[in-house]
Structures are given as structure tokens and as C-alpha cells.
Symmetry: C2
Subunit: 437 residues, 2 copies
């Protein structure tokens, strides 16, 4: 039997029927499956040619076992885990940790040094006891300035405390080259690798995300099963159920043809807030390009905007409803969170909230999502909703791989290279010159 997704995408509120000229019409949706078929064929052709390397990760059983084998002997020996990494080397881990960390803050405490801010360095240095702390330095190139500075600072602290680097520091980097790899070899640090073909923002399912996640006690095995299911589904599922492809195409077309320059990602779940941060990098950096693949000029890209429901109903919704009609909102709902909470006995009536009695909290939260979607539609503002059966490692694996796929499809639709980031070196060169380097 062919594999399918457990997540589904509801595009009803993106149709012209619901939101008039700000939505896509019936002919568009009739044609969509044909286009998905074509893009899928292209994806499969190109992966055979060695592109889209991240799609091989869910099947890399060796890589998973390496992570598990490296993590196991360290567990229980540390109170704090400090990840030295930035961008793709921190956002993926946060997305995993915020979504899946044990309730009640049990287990090792996770910190991330993702900035060159002295207050951040000092804060984390003040929070941890070096003897009971494990550091993981993550940098694909091995020369990311922010990560190198953090490494220098904390390695200096370990040396000053006469602790052995190899006992307290692990490395994730390119398997062959780069200064971090060299440093790790010289100091006999345990080193895991990021496959050369996988870029930082697509690296959450490599050791960059998986090693710290495993050290934090997350169930990365099941996470990868979910990702594997998604990878099979992307080849086998019915075209109408191919939510990543449909999302990538619909978001791009709403941007180019209907002026929806912003993609608001609004999960109704505090635990998915960091997935929103992760998606901001994935979407912005992959699609924000000044050249198409054929080198013609373009100002491609759509600004991903992080929102969290119901929280941001009290912060950003006024703008989304009444401000410029230039956004497409992508909701995510968790149908059956575990645990759900029944709303017990309380003076609900006194607060004009008798209607919540007997409900569970997720019923309220998901009603709020529907209310917001409908309110947007009444103002002719398009939206779509991802429905997650629950928030398990398996579903999260599917969600992350699916959003990566959606980004690849959006890259096809924009005709840009979704895997490079040619502009980010410019500011670095200028900063370096300012510092006399």
C-alpha cells in the first residue's frame, strides 16, 4: 500500500469562493494536481542527479545509530547542555526541543549560544557548572564567526578550570574539512558530521539537530520514522493529499499573483513557536533571491512571519484583519494534544464563560483557530490550515520534512536556487573590515 501523510492541509479559506479576488479560483485548483504531478516528477529526476540531499536523511540508519551511540554514554552525567551554534545550527534544535521536551522541565537543561552578545555569554556562563556541563559546537563550515567566538570563550573557561576538552565538548561539522574539524581532531573531540550536500537550514534531521536532541532525551528514533513516512508519502501519496507540494505552490502563487507578500505561520500551540522561528529561516533564506536559476533578475521571496495562536490574537491579529491585505496565513492545529486538559469546576459563569464548562482546553484553542480563520475570511484575507493528529515525535518529523519539501516546491515555483544564500557573505566581509580583519 502506498504511504500517506498523517497531516492534512485545508485550503478552503484560500479559495475565491471564500475570499473573493484575494483567493484562487476553481480552475486553479482543478489544475493544481496536474502541476503537482509535474513538479514531483522534477523533484524525483533531480534527486537522482544528486540534488535535494536532505531527502536522503530519513533513510540514513547509520547516521541515526551514530548519534544514538554517541549520546548514550554521556547521558546522566550532565545537568546542562550548551549548544554553540547559530542559524541552521540552533533553530532546528530549538524547534525539536520546544516541541518535544518533557513536561515540567525534567531532564537536562538546554541552552543555546546563538549570538556574539556578551550578555548572553555571561548569562550562560553564570548559569552552568562547568564540571556538569556538556558543550556541543555545531558549524557546517567550521568557521562560523559567532560559533568560533563562543568556542573560544567556553573552551578557555574549561581550560582555566583544568577540565579536559574531550570530556566536555563534542563537535558537529563537515566530515572532511574546515577549521573546526581540524581543531576537533587535534584535541581528540568526538565529532559527528553533517553530510556535505545538506545546507544549514535543512540540517535539523542531521547530527546538527539530532545529537543535541538525543542528549536532551528526545525520542529521535520516532522523529526519524515520521520523517521517513513523509519522504515516502512525497513520492507515493495521492496528488490531492500532497500537502507540501500544494502548500509550496499555493503560497508562491498567492504571493506573485495576489500580492500576499507575507506568509504568516500561526500554529495554535505554544510548543510549535520555535518551529515558526525555524520556518522563518527556511522560507526566507531559501526563497529570498535576486536571481533566478537562469540568472535573470527577480526580487523573489515571501516574508515568513511568526505568530502563535491564541496568543497573537492579542498582538498581531488587528493588523492581519484590518491592515494591508498582503498576507497569507498558514495555521497549524493539534487535534488531540496529549495531555489534553478538561476544564474543571470554577465560577465560569461569573466571568461570562459558562460555555467552557465540560470542554477541554484544546477544544477551546481549536475553536479559537477556526474563529480566527473565519474572521480573516470575512475580511477577504486568505488562509490555510495544517491539521496535526497530535504533537508526537512522529508527527513532528513529518511536519519538519513536509515544510522542507514545501520550501523546495516553492523554490521550483519561483525558479530560484533554494539551497544557496549568496548575499549573507556581504555583511560579514564589511564587519570584518571594520574590525581590521
Amino acid at each position: 500500500m502506498s504511504q500517506s501523510y498523517s497531516i492534512s492541509l485545508d485550503l478552503a479559506h484560500a479559495t475565491a469562493e471564500r475570499v473573493g479576488s484575494h483567493g484562487l479560483d476553481a480552475a486553479y485548483f482543478e489544475n493544481l494536481s496536474h502541476r503537482v504531478r509535474g513538479f514531483r516528477a522534477r523533484l524525483n529526476l533531480e534527486r537522482g542527479q544528486g540534488r535535494h540531499s536532505y531527502l536522503a536523511l530519513p533513510h540514513d540508519q547509520d547516521a541515526l545509530e551514530t548519534v544514538l551511540r554517541s549520546a548514550a554514554p554521556r547521558m546522566g552525567h550532565f545537568d546542562d547542555l550548551v549548544v554553540l551554534g547559530i542559524g541552521g545550527s540552533s533553530l532546528g534544535l530549538w524547534a525539536l526541543y520546544r516541541a518535544l521536551s518533557p513536561l515540567g522541565g525534567a531532564g537536562v537543561c538546554v541552552h543555546v549560544v546563538d549570538n556574539t552578545d556578551p550578555l548572553l555569554f555571561a548569562d550562560i556562563a553564570g548559569r552552568v557548572s562547568l564540571k556538569r556541563t556538556l558543550f556541543v559546537a555545531v558549524s557546517k563550515s567550521g568557521s562560523t564567526l559567532e560559533t568560533v567566538l563562543a568556542l573560544g570563550f567556553f573552551a578557555g573557561k574549561l581550560r582555566a578550570a583544568q577540565l579536559k576538552l574531550a570530556d566536555h565538548l563534542m563537535v558537529v561539522t563537515d566530515p572532511e574539512k574546515g577549521p573546526l574539524k581540524k581543531f576537533a581532531d587535534e584535541h581528540e573531540l568526538e565529532t559527528l558530521s553533517i553530510p556535505p550536500g545538506v545546507g544549514g537550514r535543512f540540517s535539523v534531521l542531521t547530527a546538527a539537530g539530532l545529537l543535541p536532541a538525543a542528549l536532551a532525551g528526545l525520542d529521535i528514533g520516532t522523529l526519524m520514522e515520521g520523517a521517513e513516512q513523509a519522504e515516502r508519502a512525497c513520492r507515493e501519496c495521492a496528488l490531492e493529499q500532497d500537502w507540501p507540494a500544494r502548500l509550496g505552490l499555493v503560497a508562491t502563487d498567492l504571493c506573485r499573483d495576489k500580492g500576499k507578500r507575507g506568509l504568516v505561520f500561526m500554529p495554535y500551540s505554544s510548543r510549535l513557536a520555535a518551529v515558526a522561528d525555524w520556518l522563518v529561516q527556511l522560507w526566507d533564506e531559501s526563497l529570498g533571491k535576486s536571481r533566478r536559476l537562469d540568472q535573470t533578475a527577480v526580487e523573489a521571496g515571501q516574508t515568513a512571519i511568526r505568530a502563535v495562536g491564541a496568543t497573537d490574537q492579542h498582538a498581531q491579529l488587528q493588523l492581519f484583519l484590518e491592515g494591508p491585505n498582503d498576507k497569507f496565513t498558514l495555521f497549524a492545529r493539534v487535534e488531540r494534544p496529549e495531555p489534553d486538559l478538561p476544564l474543571g469546576d470554577f465560577e465560569w459563569g461569573a466571568f461570562d464563560a459558562e460555555f467552557v464548562r465540560g470542554k477541554t482546553l484544546s477544544q477551546v484553542l481549536n475553536a479559537q483557530q477556526r474563529g480566527t480563520a473565519q474572521a480573516l475570511a470575512e475580511r477577504q484575507r486568505p488562509s490555510a490550515a495544517l491539521s496535526l493528529p497530535t504533537l508526537s515525535p512522529r508527527v513532528l518529523g513529518e511536519l519538519l520534512l513536509g515544510l522542507e519539501l514545501a520550501t523546495t516546491y516553492a523554490g521550483f515555483a519561483w525558479a530560484v536556487d533554494a539551497y544557496d544564500q549568496p548575499a549573507v557573505e556581504l555583511g560579514k566581509r564589511i564587519s570584518r573590515r571594520i574590525l581590521g580583519g
Copy 2:
């Protein structure tokens, strides 16, 4: 002597000289001070008529003393502080706490319940010991659904544990009316008030932000001195130094005349990340309006986008540099963070980073900010930079009040009511109907 700001605004990278037709020309800037004078006169006239109530807060010595008097006897008796509040009732506290909390995580642990997410409720319930926890419920109206649900849940837990509500629960709400006020009176809970004229998103310098901040051990007295200095400066300082007014006008004009639909707020400081979240609500909800004050139709507003430097150089910068030229970036730099950190001895050369030797971390961070601003300018993308002398309670007070003032001025420029939020009720009504209420 007239009072002035300690923060300054550099608009050089927003000029036509630097960014061509995407910037504002010399004639614009020549005229700007005259316009600031006119808008200032309007502000002062209207505050005399009872509008812009938040400007009175820095002078309300009684309110400050009430907060300090209420907080003092509770301090030292609790390990955890849990704030039940959403939107304006949580973002302000987070902005204060993230910016000013003691280094190393000393002191009481702060949590915020700002969503109807069962996983959030369960997580916080699992983290705290009720006996050693103080709850503060914050809601201006006293009927905010999310806050009422959290109150019902945690009050239920306190009752089940046979703990007295009055020992573990404080309230901040309207001084006269609303169900939360009534509930507090019935249960003899200590209650502080939000002045009726001050809306949620302008409430950070009321008890809504100040009480939890004081309970968390922050120096709110000095914070309010900084806010008071800003409030005096907004009436007295030289027009050229009036950064809030200049920012409000420049941002609005860049949006309307130059198509800069996004305001990227990018502090180069991890500690100001939550100020960015706070500003998103302030800017979006205040300016995102479908009617002008004269009731004519408009799609007013500019989307505030949160970014943190240097972190987001590795996430959003590619889009900002090469994607659509539809954003205005507002940087904030901290000139002398305390502590700053000298970069000690390390194998910098092996990482091709010998140029950092002898530098401090903030020199690197601020060079990164300048490099990014220059890179944006080279791509004709306008930016401006706020310069903060340091990150103290005093400077933060000035920053927050100044950003509120900038929002008021932007409201003038858009000709909208910056203090209402007419659209946010719509989704709530629909959600309620879905739940059968």
C-alpha cells in the same frame, strides 16, 4: 536646563544619498523638524484633553510606591512566579524580564501562561511547587478568556491543595469594574490597578508590567526614572534629537511613499529580543486600521518584523538583502554593555579569526551591526539605528516610552486611532459561537 534623551537615532542609511530612490531626500529631512514641531504641539494639546494617558505614568509616584509596597513582603517567600496574562499583559513583562533579569538566572523563576494551550498549562503545572509559587493574574477588562481559563485552572489547583488563594494569587485589573475585580474582592486578593485610560499594549509601565517585574527583583524605580526622563525630553528636547517623533514619521513615510511595508526591528542584543516581540504588538495593533479618525477607508499599518542581530544574519538577512525591497530596518545597538567581555587567548588564527584578538565581544557585535547596515545600503535598502549607551533599567525605561511615543506619532501620520483595536472582537465572537456560548 532642558531634558534630553540618552538614546540617539541615526537616519543616515535612510537618505536618498545612501539608498537612492528608496530613501528620503534632503528636502524631506529639512522639513522634518518643522513637522515634528507641529506634531509635538498636537500631542501636548491632546494630552491636555485627556488623551495619550500612558504619558502620565512615569510621573505617577503613588502607583510606583503601591507596586513596591505590595511586592516587598512577598519577596523571598517564593521560588516561582507565574503570570497569567496575554498580549499587553504578558509581552511588557517579558520585555522587562528578558532585558534586565539578573545574569546567571539567579532569583525567582518567571513563567507566563499566555495561551489556552493544554501543553503549556501542563508544562507549567509540572514545573512549579504550588506552596512556593505566587500567581499574578493580569487582565485590564477582567474577562480575557485565556486569562480566565488559566485562573480557573490554577485556582482549582490551589484549592485542591487546600492553599489559601489570597496567599498565592495577586490581581492586576481595572480599579473599578470587571469580573476579575469582583472575584478578587470576594476572595480578598490583593489587587493593583491599570489606569482606565491606558490600553493593554501601552501598559508595560503600569502595575501590569511593574508588579511582576518587581516581584522578579528588577529595579523598577530606575526604570521609571528613565521613562520620566524620556517623557520630559519629548516635550523639551531639540527637535533634531526627538528620536521618537522622527522615527514615527520616517517609518510611516517610508511605508506609504516608498513601499516599505515591513518595519524590521533588529536589536543587536539577545536581551532585547522580547522588546522586539513587544514592539510587534505595539506597532501592529496600533497602526493596523481600516478607518482613519475621520472614518474614511484606509488599509493603514506596517508589519513589524522581529529579528535579532547577529543571530538573524544567519536566518532572515538573505531575504532582506535580495528579496523584495519592501522593508525598513530599525537596528538597536548597545554601545557599552555591562559586562562586556574581552576575547581572551585562543587559537583564533586557526579559525581565520586573528582579527578578533584584543577586541571585546561588543566590538565584534557592533561591527556586525554596521556591516549589515552597510550591506543593506549597498542594495538600496533603507535602515536606521538606535544607539543605546548601555542596557540599564534607566535606558530601557527610555527606550520603551520612546517606542510608545514613536507609535503615537506614527498614528498621527497615518491619521488613525492608535489606541483602539476594533477588529479583534470578531474572531472571539465566532470562536464563542463554535463553542456554543
